[in-house]
Amino acid sequence: MDESRPQQAEVAALLGVIERMAADLALAEEPARFIAALEAGRPPAGDEAGGG
């Protein structure tokens, strides 16, 4: 079987996500905001392992 056909289908399926989800991204949405999201989600100092 030609292996490139399933590969093309897999690429198409993956890129479909971009087609569906990326249309309404705000202008300010840049890749570096990922790091900002992690930093903002950090528990307050001294609260690690405290839960609650």
Binding site: E3, Q7, L15, V17, M21, A22, L38, P43, G51
Partner: protein
């Protein structure tokens, strides 16, 4: 000795009950006896390990202790660059992976007194969740020969589970620490993105690579993380976030009924249990029950669609892996296993437009996931692997596109947390009727490894799955 915890051995060495040379010799003897069948190691540094152990023993006699791991034998995934030892990255083309710098994590661990036993088997280029490797021999699951170890940090999990090393380092781009930890019945931690330096480890995906510890107990992982974590000028993505005292946060002996009081633990009602093997499903839900008995409030919740994050993560990883390994793919394509080659080739078909949109989407999805989930709970509990370790034939037999599809299904529960960058800890929680390990993962807020470790440690103090040993002796 090879049955001890890492913490127990470190304490015994400090107390003079066993020497670094004796500990190292015991591991080397076990490797010699068992690794021909297990295939955990690609390189065993017999002479180097003993030389280091002798030096550490002399230092100990003078009262010069390097750190908390003085004399403890460890082993490292064969994508960590270590001066004086070859680095294959699981390929047959080690000449493509010449070290430009020593691996920061290895340097920190040996700086704290660890002895390097050698370099561990792995899936070729860390691309694949089953642990098979046609170049270096398929690593064997120590619980049942002929079954997958999980990958890509296959040798790391096998070495620890079989008592060949007291702890190991793995890397995790789509689940490569947690999958083998789960399949081999040990503990593995993928830290928060940026918590542990990746400098000196082969990159697979700059955006999704994580380096982390693997050991038999959560406490041992905490001990290793303490040494490994923290900013590194050699890794631009390492975070300046302060590193807490992980062992101190674990506290003393847990008692059923109160050690996790005040903690909110979420069990996802969508995605993570869909299509999961019945024994795995039951074991993970029982683990959540134990956590509830320890005082946590356990609730079911709906989490933002992990499948979208998984697809976005896949686009990013495939694109970056193809870029990083372009030279190998161009010059020596037939020296790369067909499944790995196919995955690399796929990445070259993703346009820059889609790669960049994926990175933008990742930021938005991560913000939403953290805001929604951690407003409700402190930690998530979910399966790691959808089924107990399958047979090696499941990983190796069949047309390439079918093998790629099986790989995607086996790693579907771990990959979303690589894209999200959240800390995720795999903890053993039982055995299947066939005697293969079952496991759950604990996922926490960014940089809150301490809480994830505390829940995992409390669970292990209330259960004894981590004390079981594979039938090798």
């Amino acid at each position: 000795m090879t049955d001890w915890t890492l913490e127990g051995l470190a304490t015994a060495i400090r107390a003079g009950k066993i020497s670094p040379v004796e500990a190292t010799q015991a591991c080397l003897a076990r490797i010699e006896r068992l690794d021909g069948g297990l295939r955990a190691f690609i390189t065993v540094d017999h002479a180097g390990a003993l030389e280091t152990a002798r030096r550490l023993e002399a230092e100990a006699r003078r009262g010069a202790w390097r750190g908390p791991l003085h004399g403890v034998p460890l082993a490292f995934k064969d994508l960590c660059f270590i001066r004086g030892l070859p680095t294959s990255c699981g390929t047959k083309t080690a000449e493509y992976f010449l070290a430009e710098q020593d691996c920061t994590v290895v340097a920190r661990l040996t700086g704290a007194g660890a002895v390097t036993l050698g370099k561990l088997n792995m899936t070729e280029l860390a691309m694949g969740p089953f642990g098979d490797n046609a170049h270096h021999g398929h690593a064997q699951n120590p619980w049942r020969a002929g079954h997958c170890t999980g990958g890509s940090s296959s040798g790391s999990a096998v070495a620890v589970a079989a008592g060949l090393a007291l702890g190991a380092v793995g890397s995790d781009t789509g689940g490569s620490i947690r999958l083998p930890a789960a399949a081999c019945g040990i503990v593995g931690l993928k830290p928060t993105y940026g918590r542990v330096s990746r400098a000196g480890a082969m990159p697979l995906s700059w955006s999704n690579d994580h380096v982390g510890p693997m050991a038999r107990t959560v406490r041992d992982c905490a001990l290793l993380l303490q040494v490994m974590a923290g900013p590194d000028p050699l890794d631009a993505t390492s975070s300046p976030a302060p590193v807490p005292d992980y062992l101190a946060s674990l506290g003393g002996l847990a008692s059923l009924g109160g050690s996790l009081a005040g903690l909110r633990v979420g069990v996802p009602e969508n995605f993570f249990f869909r299509g999961v093997h019945a024994e795995m499903d039951t074991a993970v839900r029982k683990a959540a029950d134990v956590i509830a008995q320890l005082g946590a409030r356990v609730l079911e919740l709906h989490v933002p669609d992990p499948q979208t994050m998984s697809d976005v993560t896949n686009i990013v990883s495939r694109s970056e892996a193809s870029t990083i390994h372009a030279r190998l793919l161009r010059e020596r394509p037939h020296d790369v296993q067909p499944v790995v080659r196919s995955r690399l080739e796929l990445g070259t078909r993703i346009p820059a437009y889609d790669y960049l949109q994926a990175l933008r989407l990742r930021a938005r999805l991560t913000r939403a996931f953290i805001a929604e989930v951690f407003a409700e709970v402190d930690v998530l509990v979910a399966p790691v692997i959808p089924e107990p370790a399958p047979s090696l034939a499941h990983a190796t037999d069949g047309p390439v596109h079918e093998l790629v599809a099986r790989q995607g299904r086996f790693s579907r529960l771990t990959r979303p947390f690589n894209g999200l960058g959240l800390p995720a800890l795999s903890v053993p929680c039982g055995f299947s009727a066939a005697g293969l390990p079952l496991a759950f993962q604990l996922v926490g807020r960014p940089f809150d490894e301490a809480t994830v470790l505390r829940v995992g440690d409390s669970y292990q103090q209330a259960t004894d799955w981590h004390t079981r040993r594979p039938p090798l002796d």
